[in-house]
């Protein structure tokens, strides 16, 4: 009985995973449909935001025109001559490249001509345009190599997380972004030029650093528009990622020249009223969720430059199979843990610790640039660990109780058997020898003996009903399936023939039966049960219809390469119709069983009268069927 308990546990082990798998499946499906995107994006932003601060970038400086500056200037939009003066002034400090993050397709007088002139003379100046509809052209006559677009990609929740490096405009010309233009010029001084990627020819590359393009399913994105060349923005962390010099500071020389020398200088308007702002929650700034356009450009440019020069990581993510594998693995971990037999408090503490651990791992990986799915993973793990836990506990407790009950029954009987029953047996034997003991005493003692044994039988049957490794016959007889096949069949035969309700058994005078060893390699418990039922059915067939049967021949053994079960009787049917009924009944099930076993089943008439039912199957079955 002990082995069948382990088998039970193992079976529930495999089948017990079933409730947990749909949950994992649902999480995966939900992610594939994109339901987790907003949460994962926010998780990414939160992760990026809470990283330890990086030192202020030494490559990019922002010259900002603030609200106060505009009020001091007294004019908006800024007139051309003002911009022109500003640019010339900045250029005196010998920056590597200047980027003007102000759209100027329409002339703003006075001084627009000056402005255009300045653009022509300063060959380290890059201006901007927008190429995606509605497109905004750059200032007139600017050479293409010094124009970069600033089109920003918004995710479905309105936040910016990606930087568009290159795209085709509506005239099918391929254009480079502001980011790339500035990075190009800056990195050219360090000897790095923009080339096509080696690993991925479509990617952009500066020296050893390849900017792996964003794909529709990168990270948590699901079917995003990955047109053009995009990358995720690895925002520079900390409250002061870049030096910001206001217009006033510039006029009053309230800055150090090194902040402009040999750097990328971005000029833009940060005044609140102009509202050149974007949503991004990944930056730890004054205004939560908002960042000015020029600062966004700074982050985008800075990440490319730092990647190429200082090996600062860009944001990478696992391939799709890796991400889903991670989610499924944690889901399975949740299932496995739910089956642990520990106290509830320890268990939940463990779950919480593991979830925190998962978050810590994800955070750690993010700091070195790997973006892995954390929300769906935690959800799958937590749901399995928590939601399924109560049901496993109940199952487990049920099983414990069953085991306890069985052990109690066994102990009880063995105690009765070893003490009182033994004494009773000795008593009976002595009483039957003593010459003067009354007969009634012997009878009563005998009855007592039978009754006590009967109790054990009853308890035994009760328990076995719940064991799946048994065959239950009519008349409440339970037969274990874990014994040799021929012994099990013998029990079936023995019990079926004792049943009172079959009239034809009474006339049988001789039972010729052979129960010999049968090869049962590859037979599952279910198969054995079905074979047992087949024998029962064949015998019932005899019992019900074989009128006047005097001899019953049963053979269950291995003949050569086949196992044979054969039931032959010499009963009469009253008429041919009854004989037909005999042959028609139960044949369907027997045929199915025969084909499962790759054998044959036959029920035929015998001469002069009688019926033979025979099931035959080969000992060596093909591997394919053996799984059934």
């Amino acid at each position: 009985m002990r082995t069948s308990f382990f088998r039970q546990r193992l079976m529930t082990g495999v089948w017990g995973m079933l409730p947990g798998l749909p949950i994992v499946g649902m999480v995966v499906a939900a992610r594939l449909l994109g339901f987790f995107q907003p949460f994962e994006w926010q998780a990414l932003d939160a992760g990026l935001r809470s990283r330890p601060a990086e030192p202020t970038d030494q490559h990019v400086t922002i010259v900002a025109i603030t609200e106060a500056d505009i009020q001091a200037i007294g004019d908006y939009p800024l007139p051309g001559e003002l911009l022109s003066e500003l640019l010339v002034e900045i250029n005196q400090y010998q920056p590597a490249v200047i980027g003007l993050d102000i759209l100027r397709d329409i002339p703003i007088e006075p001084g627009h001509d000056d402005f255009i002139q300045t653009i022509q003379t300063l060959d380290n100046l890059v201006v901007i345009n927008k190429i995606l509809p509605p497109s905004i052209p750059p200032p007139a006559d600017t050479p293409d190599s010094r124009v970069g677009f600033v089109d920003t990609l918004l995710d479905d929740d309105g936040f910016v997380r990606r930087s568009l490096l290159g795209a085709t405009d509506d005239q099918n010309n391929y254009r480079f972004s502001f980011t790339i233009r500035l990075a190009e010029q800056y990195l050219a001084q360090a000897g790095l030029i923009l080339e096509n990627g080696i690993r991925n020819p479509r990617a952009m590359r500066f020296g050893p650093i390849e900017l792996t393009p964003f794909q529709p399913n990168t990270g948590s994105y699901v079917r995003a528009d990955a047109g053009g060349e995009q990358i995720l923005i690895n925002f520079r962390s900390g409250p002061t990622p870049f030096d910001i010099i206001t217009y006033q500071d510039l006029q009053t020389a309230n800055f150090t020249p090194t902040q402009l020398q040999d750097r990328v200088v971005l000029v833009g308007v940060t005044a609140q009223s102009v509202k050149d702002i974007v949503n991004t929650a990944a930056v730890d700034g004054l205004n939560p969720g908002l960042v000015t356009g020029v600062e966004l450009q700074a982050h985008a440019i800075s990440q490319v430059i730092n990647a190429a020069l200082n090996n600062r990581t860009l944001l990478k993510s696992w391939p799709d199979w890796g991400e889903y594998g991670w989610i499924i693995a944690w889901g399975l971990l949740g299932i496995v843990l739910a089956r642990f037999r520990v106290k509830a408090i320890y268990y939940f503490a463990c779950i919480v610790v593991l979830v925190l651990g998962l978050i810590a791992i994800s955070y750690g990986l993010l700091s070195i640039g790997w973006w892995i799915p954390v929300i769906p993973t935690a959800v799958a793990f937590f749901l399995n660990g928590v939601a399924l836990y109560p049901s496993y506990r109940t199952q487990h407790e049920l099983r414990l109780r069953l085991e306890d009950r069985q052990q109690l029954i066994e102990r009880t009987f063995d105690q009765i058997h070893n003490g009182p029953l033994q004494k009773l047996a000795i008593l009976l034997s002595r009483v039957s020898e003593a010459p003067d003991s009354p007969d009634s005493l012997q009878q009563d003692l005998g009855a007592l003996n039978q009754e006590l044994r009967g109790i054990y039988e009853a308890m035994q049957q009760e328990f076995l009903v719940e064991d799946s490794c048994c065959l239950q016959l009519e008349g409440n007889r339970i037969i274990r399936l874990d014994q040799p096949l021929y012994e099990m069949l013998y029990e079936v035969y023995d019990h079926t023939l004792r049943r009172e309700e079959f009239p034809c058994f009474a006339t049988i005078k001789v039972h010729v039966r052979t129960f010999e060893h049968m090869a049962e390699k590859g037979l599952t418990a279910d198969r054995k049960r079905e074979i047992g039922r087949f024998l029962e059915e064949s015998l019932c067939n005899v019992g019900k219809y074989a009128k006047g049967c005097s001899r019953l021949v049963i053979t269950c053994r291995q003949e050569g390469a086949n196992n044979v079960i054969q039931v032959m009787d010499n009963g009469l049917g009253h008429n041919t119709q009854q004989n037909y009924r005999r042959i028609g009944r139960g044949t369907q099930q027997a045929q199915t069983l025969a084909s499962c076993l790759e054998g044959s089943f036959e029920r035929r008439r015998l001469e002069p009268h009688g019926v033979c039912s025979e099931l035959l199957w080969p000992v060596q079955r093909s591997k394919r069927k053996r799984l059934l």
Binding site: A425, I426, E487, D494, H511
Partner: protein, 222 residues
Amino acid sequence: MSTTSALCPNLIVIVDDHEAVLAGTLSLLKTEYPKTTFLTAQDAQSAKETIQNAQPELTIMDLSIPDHAKAPAQTEVGIQLLRSLMTDYPQLNFVVQSAHVRSLVRLKPAIEMHQGGFTISDKSAPMREMLTKVDWALQGLVYTPREMRVKLEVKPEWLEVLRLAFQDGLQDKTIAEKMCISERTVRHYWTRVQDALGVYPDEGKNMRIQTEIRARQEGLLD
């Protein structure tokens, strides 16, 4: 019945976990078989070892025994032990002390295939009967309680032996030749079919003739 048997086995092993019963059985058997050595075992493991080392002619065993000392006694353990002993020692004779017919019914096919004697004795029966069963087992006979023999069950080989013996009047040696089996197997079939027909040694009666009478009564010969 004489107080000492004509048979003289060398070695008998008794397996029982009840001290009192063991002592009683031992003393009785020592009177019956004065020249025999007796070994005892009180659990399945030590029984296996003892039988392996000693190679007895007869094993008397209780079905309700523990697997090893200090374990609880269970009928299942006895049945498993019996099964493995019957496989390992086909010639060993057995006396099984149990009234647990339900469990023993499972072993009926194995008992039939077993070469040695096999008798089942009831502990609540008088001691005399136990001695008879021991004697029959040593002779290689089979005895099963009546509850196990409600209906007449025979194997085709036994019918063949009966037919050749009683219809054709052949001797064992000739039967063996005709059936292409050994004489020993023929004797083996005799013991089994006699148990099925309920024919046992009785003073003043010829067993073979008794067998023929019973066989005709049951309609096995015509």
